[in-house]
Symmetry: C2
Subunit: 173 residues, 2 copies
């Protein structure tokens, strides 16, 4: 129950537990892969560690819940303190540092890679990614805007931007 610094990973765990009501870490891992993981992925080993940390801090509680086959498993859920922490994070709109692009391709470009060759390779990859995001977006149909929908739209917009960017360089060859 000691106090701890909450990181983005913490809020991913708290946020998903709020949605799912309760879940095993394995379940969280699967949900992450399909949702928030598109713009902020977390390896499963970190989810386990984070669940433990949050439990030690009293923000989640876990209880044993063996599988039908008798295998060991733990299920986690939010505590009242966990809900409060999540709520106040969500309400706080103060802007810390803005995110960086951190694109390995840009790094090569910066240090003198051939724009046309590099652009062609990157372009293909971003086109694939864009197509996948657009398919997901289509699957939303015309539901009312929600967090997941809005973030997916952001993802699509930035992929389009990458496609435009590398297209320009690929064509320059």
């Amino acid at each position: 129950m000691s106090t701890m610094r909450l990181t983005p990973t913490s809020y991913i765990v708290l946020g998903l537990l709020e949605r799912l009501e309760s879940a095993s870490v394995y379940a969280l891992k699967q949900v992450v892969a399909l949702s928030v993981g598109n713009f902020w992925s977390v390896p499963h080993s970190q989810l386990y560690r984070e669940a433990d940390r949050l439990e030690a801090a009293g923000l989640v509680v876990g209880h044993d819940d063996p599988t039908p086959g008798g295998r060991h498993r733990r299920i986690f859920g939010l505590t009242a303190a966990g809900r409060r922490a999540l709520g106040s994070w969500r309400r706080d709109v103060a802007v810390e540092r803005l995110p960086e692009l951190r694109d390995p391709g840009l790094l090569k470009l910066f240090f003198g890679a051939d724009p046309a060759r590099l652009g062609a390779a990157r372009l293909a990859a971003h086109r694939r990614q864009l197509a996948e995001y657009e398919a997901r977006l289509a699957a939303f149909g015309d539901e009312r805007p929600s967090g997941p929908l809005l973030t997916l739209q952001a993802g699509v917009a930035h992929e389009r931007e990458w496609v435009r960017f590398w297209e320009g360089l690929a064509a320059s060859g």
Copy 2:
């Protein structure tokens, strides 16, 4: 002279040493802050460690060069092996994983933050950032395209995209 895995940080150090011919880590830190650090920042503690690692791997050499005031200082430069490593990285256009957005603001949005309030705050921050990038871009005048110029253009394009995105949400309030 053992073999080591080269990371993006490695190439930042190698790439800058190629440009500067030779430099202290402190000098690298300053150059990073003004150039590549705009889309891929590296804390100075990491630059020190990386210089040591690269030296152990034989890709850079350092020699003592006390300051005028008699203070300890080391200057690093590329070795032939370092130049080769940099060159072959630059030529390799294979695409690993694509980068993620990893924006804390998106995370809040995903987990249900109020779009209008969040958008207003983020919008202001991104507008400032965009203005700064545009000023830098203007400072380039009309030099011929170069790595640094192209990456700055990418930065501007993505900042514009963020401005558009959060504008839409801020307006929705």
